[in-house]
Symmetry: C2
Amino acid sequence: MIQSLERALMILKCFEAKEELGVTEISKEVALHKSTTFNLITSLEKLGLLEKTKDEKKYRLGLELFRLGTLVNASVRTVTRPYLEQLSESYLETVNLVKRNDLDVVYLEKLESPHSMRIGTKEGQQFPLYCTAVGKAIMATLDDDEVMDILDKTLFKQYTKYTLITKEEVMAQIQLVRHQGYAEDIQEFEEGLTCVAVAIRNHYGKAEYAISVSGPSTRMKKDFRSKISNTLVEVSKEISRRIGY
Amino acid sequence: MIQSLERALMILKCFEAKEELGVTEISKEVALHKSTTFNLITSLEKLGLLEKTKDEKKYRLGLELFRLGTLVNASVRTVTRPYLEQLSESYLETVNLVKRNDLDVVYLEKLESPHSMRIGTKEGQQFPLYCTAVGKAIMATLDDDEVMDILDKTLFKQYTKYTLITKEEVMAQIQLVRHQGYAEDIQEFEEGLTCVAVAIRNHYGKAEYAISVSGPSTRMKKDFRSKISNTLVEVSKEISRRIGY
DNA sequence: ATACATTGTACTATAATATGGAATAACTAT
DNA sequence: ATAGTTATTCCATATTATAGTACAATGTAT
């Protein structure tokens, strides 16, 4: 493991918590000598991964990082986009594309509902597999031992009174998802938020990605969810095919 | 300048051209020894900046890069977003937020027109200052010598028959933009594409950002553009204020 | 107005690190 | 079966990043 690279990334990650930081501030945060930190920061700036603020006193994340970020999984996102737009138009709720990241899912693409009642998540944010519809949809495509592996490593947290917080409960849900062909999250992660999801399978049958439709539980009644899940299953097949799996 | 960092970024940039690459392929591209490249790649993978493809044979950009990318200029994008949505609803054309990057502008945020006739640009792409409305809007807020600096370094290219390809022509346009308070690009960059833009000023009066409305020249007639520019000027003031300039 | 912190930045010797050579192992293609 | 790829490991060496010290430029408190 290249030390300076690891340290450089530690520095970049400091900006998750705060948008602008100075040299000393960063050096304390990453527990490195001020001059080492300064050296790393200067290099990061020359490379465009950091930039100085207009007053020259602090640093923030640079455009090069943004540009590289837009290239990540570009083809999957491009292929999926029109289907998400179609789903958004059909159901007028928020639609998402996520990718598994170890024990979590990361939101890759998101089209907000045109309704005023919005959902707070943004692209780049991540949430646990076990308490999201997308997460359960992805896990359902894996082998039982892989799922157990995940759940063994998972730190369960009772987000709402509906959150499943034991391996057994989640495992039972996974079975249901496999049977149904789609997953639901009815207020398991956030009170009043309901979500329907399907996995996008690769040619091993496993899923790295999933798509979902989410909205306030008041609108996401059973028959509406049923319509959505039917469409999602079809769309998932289409996307899987298009991605070349 | 930390060598391994510089080299690591060279490797990441290889993925601008191709989404998936192997070790040897990359080592040739960056002109480094295969084992050095391997070492760098392995570290990048452990850090989540690269990931192995499912078949374990190639590498692609990793989720960590995506996550960091979403944090770049987050506050500006968050503040601007609702205004862009409002503009999109009002005029039903594509709206953009860009940031200056040396001689170019980078698209930070983009809401596609609901019309079927779409514009090909995506977030993260960059285009020259001199032949875009957003670029001219930004330059118009700078001092004359700063603009000359930019134009001296610029390599002009005749994208269309309307493209301005001399410093003098562009300078004259800049004067017009300053007088009008907004900038236009009428098929200067792409045949049939017209764009109206205003700069977002910081508290030095200079602009790092700009917003624009763009659409097919057939729809972007003079009186329509005039309506748009009036709104843009107002919106720009609002955003500048909200950003805290 | 003066002294005291605290900031960012420059320089340098040293030790630790990344480097690239050589060699091997795992695949592909012929 | 064989040759030519590929990815990967190991290791000695020299280069490189490191952290200590020092300083200058701010900002803050007295």
